[in-house]
Amino acid sequence: MYLIIAVIILVFLIIFQIAKASEYVAVLKGEEQNRKQTNKVNGFLMFGFMIMGLIGVWYCNELYFKKTLLALPSASEQGEKIDSMLWVTLAITGVVFIITQIILFWFAFRYQESDKRKVYFFHESNKLELLWTVVPAIFLTVLVVIGLRNWNYITGGPPEGSNPLRVEVTGAQFKWIFRYPGKDDQFGKKYYKVIDNANNSLGLVWRDSAALNMKDDPATHDDIVMESTVYVVKDRPVKFIIGSRDVIHDVGLSQFRMKMDAVPGIPTTLWFTPKYTTTEMKKITGNPDFIYEISCDQMCGNSHYAMRGIVQVVTQEEFDVWMAKQKPAYYDAFPEKDPAKKDTAAVKGPLAVVPAKK
């Protein structure tokens, strides 16, 4: 450790001494001549930087392109539009990038100080100004039109008659909670003041409460609640109704190219149509461990980086089989009402109705 510090200080000192010495040499050799020499070196370096930079851009792409999502097909239909828009944007901005950077460094190199050149006194040209106002404006219009068409499509919600699967997604420090409406296809009422981490993580209203002026909502009785993993169906639009229990979170679905904040008190929505099941995507990526992940994309506290959810994309048949096995959350809170457990209800009943503790 101390050795490293010593070495660093030593290196600094050496650089510093060389720099000072070169300054004295410059004064001795004649400052003007020295300045011109340095100017040539830096002009050459500018040109070199441009060449190295362009090679670097290419090399970086070689190294990392295949690790990005662009190397894979989008996992949702909406994502395909976003990808194609991304490619158009990349093409336009990429061309501008290469042209302007080359011009910049080429001009710096080409027009470096020379005693022979007489500066061209050129300070105004309405034609040129007009040119680079109008041309960018035209390209931007194209991008805006493409962008807004996609934006309207994405935010428009699933088309009529597409029978979307509706799932409620709730963020909480630091987990994801999902709710399916159950057999009645209706989300029962919830109220945050009856949340109980033990058996009612969403605060479903399934008890009468005079204090809170609430009545048991039967629609909650068949709602299915689960944490961490959500099941959705291939080729069937899914609509997430998103909320948060505490701070702002964000449902990040990078493979589906989708994202939406989870805000306490203000529900938001997001919809997409999965294209490949998880199993199919394992084959496409060639990664047997592949899994669709939900990342929290809005800073939400110290375990923000570990707020991970999983999306399982399955076929409709698999989904139906899986759904049939799920038990409504109501029966966790009231085991005595569970038809499957009728006989044991007498024993467990009293425990389950202990009032929620804070």
Partner: protein
């Protein structure tokens, strides 16, 4: 205001200052009045600069520390525990410390370094010298501006030492995370100090900004019409206007946040259940309201940071190309357009908050519209270089670097401003790469360009050129090596503000790249130390400036003595006869603004 009134006001101020200037010769200034509670705009500029540099070192060091975690997530560094104690138990930074470092790095760099350190320094230093004034309109308010900034710094610094740690919810401080003491340890005392510090900072920048505006409008010397102002002054003018109109909105947002935090109001809070505490009584607030108030400053803030850099770069490019800036009026017009549009695009930071989609489309349109004035500026800079006679002074190198970075970072802005693409890229490393290049590093380059260019005027000595060139090339190459590959992480969907990616199947493939980026970040940081050595060594030991106008520049500051006293010009304030960009005209290398227009001179 009539011209006459301006002249009158001006001559009144000038004569009173003349008296002050004479004072100086008779009375010995004490250490306190000269170096501490100074009312000389040049000294205040240096105070802003050096305080900003201290913060830049601290903020940069913080980024090195959290890059250690990102680059070497499996390694432990026992020396970290030696310096950070419980924040790095076992030699590995804890998540609390990581988020505190990220948050403080962001806050400090955006506000203390790039707002106070950049625009505070150069607005103070250049406005009176370039418009031809003895000092600011109110030297006293100007002094207060610095001392409010200083107290903001002290409070922010103290927040690093509280037991529960500094604020750790990101520099944007979104509630409810920032409003709830129990949502995160950093939201306890650390957050109170953070808000107090930021409130003091807002006061500082309002006092400064009003002063800059008044000085530019009222205290220009004879002949210095608005259209003869150097572009630096135009840029600093728009910067000040942006700050004065938007910082109060931020302050109002903070005040509501203070109420929510401490007095039980529900401006931002609704339907919240905090683990370990239970359900909160607050209902009916909107967490999104804060984001509107925040970004109503937050977006202009980007231009508050960027415009001074643009102004200085315009000036330096022109001086060192020995050629007039191309399209002066278009440059002013595009600054104006950017300043207006800066107020109309804030919600593009909020495309994924559940914003009304129609509103979103309007913000897409306005956001992409900003690309037009930005493009005009870039092409005008390029044309300024064309057929010039380019001298690669260190200032010029950084100015060219600025243009390169502004292009690179600006173009990715076109991606992110388009809402449908933003849905995919929002809050990924792509965004981190984008804003670091276009706002962070580019403005840093503008600041370096300014320091290298005006150092001889500030201290009457030169910086060492060899060190300056080493500093430039390492920083330039390093900036691209750090932030260019980061775009690829973003395109892989990697979220920002993650302490570790190791448990994520989708994001764990970039371990080697993160190590590379962290290593380069450390090297670049070391190169900045080299700059600091150069800076402080040269204040006392640098080569003395013997030429009153070392760069052969047209602007007024170079007509003042090499080491100007308080009052700037010993005699009369010079009169201005022309714009600032007569370089290479009629075969003359440069014609200072003070030279009367000759009878045989060609028109332009």
């Amino acid at each position: 205001m009539s011209n006459e009134a301006v002249l009158h006001a001006h001559s009144g101020v000038a004569s009173s200052h003349d008296a002050g200037g004479h004072h100086e010769h008779h009375h010995h200034e004490t250490f306190i009045t000269k170096y501490v509670f100074s009312q000389d705009h040049k000294m205040i500029a240096k105070q802003f600069l050096i305080t900003g540099m201290v913060w830049a070192v601290l903020g940069g060091l913080m980024s090195v520390l959290f890059r250690l975690q990102l680059g070497y997530p499996d390694s432990t560094f026992p020396w970290l525990e030696d310096i950070l104690g419980k924040w790095a138990k076992g030699g590995r930074i804890t998540p609390e410390a990581y988020y505190a470092l990220v948050t403080t790095h962001g806050t400090v760099l955006v506000f203390f370094v790039l707002t106070a350190g950049l625009s505070g320094t150069f607005a103070n230093f250049l406005i009176p010298l370039q418009v031809g004034a003895r000092d600011m309109a109110s030297p006293f308010l100007n002094m207060l501006s610095y001392w409010f900034f200083f107290s903001a710094s002290v409070v922010m610094l103290s927040s690093l030492f509280v037991e529960t740690g500094p604020f750790s919810g990101g520099w944007t401080a979104y509630p409810p995370l920032s409003a709830l003491h129990d949502a995160s340890p950093g939201s306890k005392t650390g957050m109170d100090l953070w808000i107090i510090s930021m409130a003091l900072f807002v006061v500082s920048s309002l006092l400064g900004g009003l002063n800059y505006i008044v000085t530019i409008l009222n205290m220009r010397t004879k002949g210095m019409s608005m259209t003869r102002l150097p572009l630096t002054i135009w840029a600093l003018f728009f910067t000040a206007v942006l700050g004065v109109l938007s910082f109060p909105v931020l302050l109002s947002g903070f005040i509501l946040l203070i109420f929510d935090r401490n007095f039980g109001t529900s401006f931002y809070l609704s339907d919240i259940f905090v683990n370990g505490v239970g359900a909160l009584p607050n209902e009916g607030g909107s967490a999104i309201l804060f984001q509107h108030l925040f970004w109503f400053l937050g977006h202009p803030e980007v231009y508050i940071i960027l415009l001074p850099a643009m102004g200085m770069v315009s000036e330096i490019l022109s001086v060192n190309s020995r050629k007039p800036i191309f399209g002066y009026m278009a440059m002013v017009g595009s600054l104006f357009a950017i300043a207006i549009l800066a107020f109309l695009v804030w919600a593009h930071h909020m495309f994924v908050t559940g914003l009304n989609p129609f509103l979103g489309s309007i913000f897409v349109l306005l956001t992409l519209l900003i690309a037009v004035p930005s493009a005009i500026k870039v092409f005008n800079w390029l044309t300024t270089l064309w057929r010039g006679n380019v001298r690669f002074t260190p200032g010029m190198m950084f100015a060219i670097g600025f243009v390169s970075l502004f292009i690179s970072g600006g173009l990715t802005g076109i991606w992110l401003g388009n809402s449908a693409l933003d849905v995919h890229l929002h809050d990924t490393m792509f965004v981190v790469a984008h804003f670091h290049i276009v706002m962070g590093v580019a403005s840093m380059f503008g600041m370096f360009a300014g320091i290298y260019h005006w150092y001889p005027k500030m201290f009457g000595r030169y910086l060492n050129n060899t060190l300056a060139y080493i500093h430039f090339w390492i920083t330039m190459a390093g900036a691209y090596l750090i932030f260019w590959p980061m775009h690829y992480e973003g395109l892989a969907g990697m979220p920002r503000r993650y302490y570790s990616y190791e448990q994520w199947e989708s994001f764990k493939n970039f371990g080697d790249l993160n190590r590379f980026i962290s290593t380069v970040a450390m090297i670049v940081f070391a190169a900045q130390i080299l700059f600091l050595l150069n800076f402080f060594y040269s204040i006392w030991k640098g080569r003395k400036v013997t030429n009153q106008n070392p760069w052969g520049s047209n602007t007024l500051e170079w007509t003042a003595p090499i080491r100007p006293g308080h009052g700037n010009w010993p005699g009369e304030i010079p009169e201005v006869h022309r714009w600032a960009y007569d370089y290479g005209k009629d075969g003359k290398e440069f014609i200072p603004q003070t030279t009367p227009v000759g009878a045989d001179e060609s028109h332009h």
